[in-house]
Symmetry: C2
Subunit: 208 residues, 2 copies
Amino acid sequence: MPRSAEQTRKRILDGAYTLFRRHGYSRVSMDDIAAKASFTKRTLYHHFKSKDQLLADVLACQQELALQAFKTFGDRLSGSPEAIVEGMFRELAVWADRPRWAGSGFTRLVIELADLPGHPARLIARRHKARLERCLGELLERSGVRRAGELARAIWLLSEGAISLILVHGDQGYSAAAANAAMTLVRSHLDKHQKAVRAAGNGSVNWR
Amino acid sequence: MPRSAEQTRKRILDGAYTLFRRHGYSRVSMDDIAAKASFTKRTLYHHFKSKDQLLADVLACQQELALQAFKTFGDRLSGSPEAIVEGMFRELAVWADRPRWAGSGFTRLVIELADLPGHPARLIARRHKARLERCLGELLERSGVRRAGELARAIWLLSEGAISLILVHGDQGYSAAAANAAMTLVRSHLDKHQKAVRAAGNGSVNWR
DNA sequence: CAAAGTATACTCATTAGTGAATTTACAGGG
DNA sequence: CCCTGTAAATTCACTAATGAGTATACTTTG
């Protein structure tokens, strides 16, 4: 065995993720991916059954990392709901400010495949988003907010909306607008009087 | 001249819009579009310089209709900000409930072309979204809400987020969640005590 | 008849996917 | 310690289909 299969697989998955995320699905060819990972296309087909399956595997693999990143992110935040929200949107702003940022890989790919509800990649992306939303809900729950699930969903909506609109307009201002709106919502979910708007760590993991 | 050029152009634009909206850009071929409009591909190239230009023209044409639809929609609404918001999200729910709904054509296409900031279609989509947001702002302004522009942007974020998440999960519940959040935001933008939550007409124009 | 409009029949590049040969790493016999 | 068989890993060279875009001839209408 010239190389450990595991290593090769990983190199392919990594390269493919980068390309898919940056250029979408259709516009990335198997040859592109092969070139990126410095293998022949035939090798890709040795490790992955088809392009669609490769995409699914890429997302499945990325999902693990992203979920971990989000949990780490959650741990870094102090307990106040304001801090959680502020941290979330600050991170979004940092993330979206990167040179050739092209949105959330998961969202982007699902939207590209919007008319193919049976595509394996969609199922994975869907589960991923649902899990993240639940995580946020738990985080908020622990922070002592009322109807945390409802709030989490609203914040998630703002976050996805911000991703779309930043992409459309190339204007990071939408992230600040989303943060403001989210803060208003948080306050409306607070029992009477709670405050404490502590800051949170930054970093540029991307778990969307 | 076998047919009026204008008529042919329109038939092509209509068919192309349907296809692009449903399947995205890359996965629709010029042959598909030609077939849809019952012309030969060569005819398309007689009327449009390239596929990219066709897309741009499609969006430009659709933009007019969509803007008009939104204005009509705005006129139908009674003046209270709650009614405006409720109407918006009810319409979204109806729209997203259609059989093979695949999101907002504009958003979808911009996201697909996220890595091509210079693409002519992006400029048009961008202007379109900006104009709609401004329209919503004016609508809210007239309804007597404070900081209408800020509110409009927040609502717009929720709306775009809902489109994304409905697409991801196939769950129209996100539209209701967005509506609730929007309503909370509206209330926080109301001067002291205003109410009146009148209903508005429905219909299924899609101006996103 | 003239000119715009439409069709036939291509070109050339690219793409997902494959058949068959070739290389490599390691197991076990000498 | 080397040699060698073997199976996995990788490559080369290909197919068949599809895509954007075009040269040219035909058709329709004013």
